[in-house]
């Protein structure tokens, strides 16, 4: 029985470890590293399984809370007392374990999880008393206060009952006090664990080993001894397997290979398009290069993870693995997995065989070299972790562990410097160029830090740095490819070129702009997805444990406090989701009611529109309210906000609110509906849509007028088609003085009656309207069933009148106008042109001057000139 249990727990542990490795994509290295630090490696995962018994306690709570009503009173007390005592014992146990496991990070996290469960159970216990306490309190109030001195004594039964109730209450209070104290203690322990873990991490990084002590002659012996023990261990296991478990191993290996084959061929068949590069493509687009890089990293790595974890699971299932071999095999598979992952990633990015598909434009030779160097670095780091596992399993001396880690750290440092010194680019002349300066010096720096710290004795630190470089670096690189792909997909037209985009385009006939918007949406989604997927991996790498994340998630779910402000993101997300659901349900209901019920019920289009709109607003308001309450938002909090808003509404939003309310009135009272012909002020036209702020009216010139609802409510609105479309049109016509008016009246009435659109009842009427200046005025008044046909009828009747009057020689006179033209009394003209007048005046002056000068020469001729 005992070995069976052991195997079962071993199996569980392996499954746990391998799944963890698989899911964390290499995160296991850090776990192994932490385990290496601990004195008792086998315990590293044990607390995780121990956390399970705490869980049923928690889940068993709700019935206990609901029970008291039905159960006898005493049982609540007994039950909860026992429970609190049990929890106290559990806390004592955990307290001891915390002291023991003070060097085991994973163990501490598991203990913290248990403590949090205990804290919750304590609170639940406390709450279980509530109904009983309420009963006691109300009964004590009913009994009233004990009679004061001098008053007649109360019956003994009452006094006894009060006493019993008060005693019970006191007991409950004592128990609650115990629970409270225990809760304080539990929280203190949680804080202690946090401090311990922090110092554990700091110690790990700052611990210095004396290298001189490690490098003594004993190391050589120790290494030899370790190797021989490893050999013995493995060979004895192999013997055991061959002798007793040969069939099981064959079966397990067969299944594992079967899985591998299925993944290899099936996966290639299904995902081949995603991960295979097409060598014939001259210039593949950036997006397809990125996508191939991403998938050709992810899918093979996942497949490899499934294969390796499947193998371990199968071996465990067939009881092939013994304790130490299982750990060793898991460690070895981790090395394989990490190396494979880094190799896939570097090949995906650098694509040494196909320059066209390379993500960074570097030289082929350098690409080949870099792939090798990176894979080698990962292998060294993985091997170091594996050797740590070997040392733990075989309980090797510390000096061996230190020497191995030192060698590994030095190797990683040298490899990093080598990667930094590769010259991947060429300039125009073809001479090789190194990495950009920053990157190069960063690589040099990290490499040198690793080497120097290892040489100074800070081996754990060097180991930590080299692990981070490989694993975090690889994870970040993969995430970065994802980010780049996300950015590339949001480029204009990029999404339409993807297979999804093409599918959407052909299936749903989407436009390019819609596809572009979808590209943006997928950009955001991919970003979020990458953060969700990769952030935990990276956090695990940096020493966080799954338990930490669970605690955070729990905090997110239950809410946290910032000052006096409590905030629960999950609740708010729930609220938003509920609201969105409500919104879509409303839309669906609207569509169903409109399309299926009202359309078949032959309901008028305008009424349908009104009902539809009102249901839409009501549904959204309802969804909003439900969303708010699911978000856990107290509406009284909103009242404060609303109070503040109302002031703003009073001033700034006055018009908007007035229009909104008017819109609701329009929808409810329906003075007009969509499709009606209305006249509001200067606007006359057909109502197209009544929305909550304004109403759209289309005039007969096809101009859309948007009229605020308040104007339609406050002003007079004429509706030609309110209850029915019946309407009257008038056609004025004049006949010359002296015509036979009786005959005219008869003709007009005949014409009106004979038109097929004119109603018989109310019957058409011809009015002898006036004795005009130039004509005798008549007016033909006809009623139509649909006033919309007014123009047609008017046209027809006018044509008919002209025709009939022509036949009967009745004249439609043109209005006579006498124009009196008066002749001007004096034809005095005024010079209009000033310049001309000036010129004439100047002419006149010069003529006079010439006339005045005329005699002078004559006089001069008499007297000779003295000159």
């Amino acid at each position: 029985m005992k070995p069976l249990n052991r195997h079962a727990s071993l199996a569980l542990r392996h499954i746990f470890v391998m799944l963890f490795l698989l899911v964390l994509a290499g995160g296991g290295v850090s776990v192994v590293a932490h385990a290496q630090e601990t004195a008792a490696p086998a315990e590293s995962t044990a607390p995780a399984t121990e956390a399970q018994p705490a869980a049923p306690d928690q889940s068993a709570e709700p019935p206990a809370q609901a029970a008291p009503k039905a159960a006898p009173v005493a049982s609540v007390m007994t039950e909860q007392r026992e429970k609190i005592e049990g929890l106290t014992k559990q806390v004592d146990d955990i307290s001891k374990k915390v002291d023991q496991a003070s060097k085991d990070d994973a163990g501490l996290v598991a203990l913290r999880g248990q403590l949090e469960a205990v804290d919750k159970s304590l609170l639940d216990s406390g709450i279980a008393f509530r109904p009983r306490l309420a009963e006691i309190n109300s009964r004590v109030t009913q009994l009233g206060n004990p009679p004061a001195d001098g008053q007649p004594p109360e019956p003994e039964m009452v006094a006894n009952e009060r006493h019993a109730l008060n005693t019970e209450k006191a007991e409950i209070n004592v128990l609650l006090g115990k629970a409270e104290d225990l809760s304080v203690r539990v929280n203190g322990m949680v804080n202690k664990i946090t401090v311990l873990r922090r110092s554990l991490f700091t110690n790990m990084l700052t611990k210095r080993y004396e290298l001189a002590n490690a490098f003594t002659g004993e190391v050589g012996h120790a290494v030899n001894y370790e190797i021989s023990r490893l050999y013995n261990s493995v060979s004895s296991w192999l013997r055991f397997v061959v002798q007793f478990k040969f069939r099981a191993v064959l079966a397990a290996t067969f299944f594992a290979l079967l899985v591998a084959a299925v993944m290899q061929f099936g996966g290639r068949r299904i995902f081949g398009r995603l991960i295979n590069r097409d060598p014939s493509l001259e210039d593949p687009s950036y997006l397809s290069r990125l996508s191939v890089a991403f998938w050709s990293t992810l899918l093979p790595t996942l497949a490899m993870g499934v294969l390796l974890s499947g193998t371990v699971t199968l071996y465990t299932y067939f009881n092939v693995l013994r304790g130490d071999i299982g750990v060793l095999l898991s460690g070895f598979f981790t090395v394989l997995f990490v190396s494979f992952f880094v190799n896939c990633l570097s090949r995906a990015v650098l694509s040494p065989d196909m320059p066209n598909w390379r993500l960074i434009s570097i030289e082929s030779r350098a690409a080949q070299l870099l792939v090798w160097l990176m894979t080698l670095t990962a292998f060294v780091v993985g091997l170091d972790a594996f050797m740590g596992v070997v040392s733990d399993t075989l309980s090797s001396p510390l000096s061996v562990t230190i020497v191995k880690s030192l060698v590994a750290a030095l190797l990683v440092g040298v490899l990093l410097v080598l990667i930094g010194s590769v010259k991947p680019f060429v300039d125009e002349k073809g001479t090789p160029r190194p990495w950009p300066t920053t990157l190069r010096y960063l690589l040099y720096l990290i490499g040198l830090v690793t080497i120097v710290s290892a040489l100074l004795g800070y081996v754990s630190f060097a180991q930590f740095v080299s692990q981070q470089i490989v694993i975090t670096g690889a994870l970040l690189a993969t995430a970065y490819i994802g980010f780049l792909a996300a950015s590339a997909i949001s480029d204009e037209g990029a999404f339409a070129d993807t297979s999804v985009g093409r599918w959407l385009k052909t299936k749903h006939n989407l436009e390019d702009t819609t596809l572009d918007q979808l590209g943006l949406v997928s950009n955001v989604l991919i970003h979020i997805l990458i953060v969700i997927v990769f952030l935990p991996f990276i956090l695990f790498q940096w020493g966080f444990q799954p338990g930490d994340l669970l605690v955070w998630l729990n905090k997110l779910a239950t809410g946290f406090k910032i000052g006096a402000f409590s905030f629960s993101p999950l609740a708010i997300v729930t609220g938003v989701v509920v609201f969105v659901l409500g919104y879509f349900i409303t839309r669906w209901f609207q569509g169903w009611l409109d399309g299926s019920v009202m359309a078949r019920g032959k309901v008028d289009a305008g009424v349908r529109n009104s009902i539809r709109t009102v249901i839409g607003y009501a549904g959204i308001a309802l969804a909003g309210l439900i969303g708010i309450s699911s978000a856990g938002i107290d509406l009284s909090n909103l009242a404060l906000v609303a109070g503040g808003l109302s002031l703003g509404i009073g001033f700034g939003l006055q018009n908007v609110v007035s229009n909104f309310v008017s819109g609701l009135i329009l929808l409810a009272e329906r003075p007009f509906k969509a499709g009606d012909w209305i006249v509001a002020g200067q606007v006359s036209g057909t109502v197209k849509k009544i929305s909550v702020r304004a109403t759209e009216i289309e005039t007969f010139q096809r101009q859309t007028v948007i009229l605020p609802n308040s104007e339609l409510i406050n002003g007079a609105v004429g509706n030609w088609t309110h209850r029915n479309k019946l309407g009257r049109v008038e056609i004025p016509v004049g006949v010359a003085h002296g015509s036979d008016v009786k005959r005219v009246h008869e003709i007009l009435l005949d014409i009106a009656r004979s038109h097929h659109m004119v109603l018989k009842n109310p019957e058409p009427f011809v009015l002898f309207a006036a004795f005009g200046e130039s004509a005798l005025n008549f007016e033909v008044r006809v009623f139509l069933a649909d006033i919309g046909n007014g123009s047609i009828v008017q046209n027809d009747i006018r044509f008919a009148i002209v025709e009939a009057f022509d036949k009967e020689n009745i004249e439609i006179p043109a209005p006579r106008r006498d124009i009196v033209v008066k002749a001007p009394s004096s034809p005095k003209t005024w010079s209009i042109d000033d310049e001309k007048a000036e010129a004439e005046y100047f002419e006149l002056l010069s003529a006079r001057a010439r006339a005045a000068q005329q005699p002078a020469p004559r006089r001069r001729s008499k007297k000779p000139d003295p000159a």
Partner: protein, 87 residues
Amino acid sequence: MKTLILASIACLGAAGGAFAASAVNKDAQPRTLIVTEGGSKSELAIGPGETIEFCSSGCFVTLPNGDREALTGNEAIEISGGAARFR
């Protein structure tokens, strides 16, 4: 419409998810609650007629009359005559 939805979400976010217990003091004199939450005890004085929010994630409370109660953090309690009544 979108802008309206966004604005209302923002408004709700500003109003805050209230996942705290609230206590209102109906007495004429100030009352003091002793609240143990997250491993620390604190005294919470409530003025007459005042309402306060506390205990966002479960706590133990000692009421003015010495009664003890455990709260999950979504209750609303009313203190009158030093005793508490759950609403």
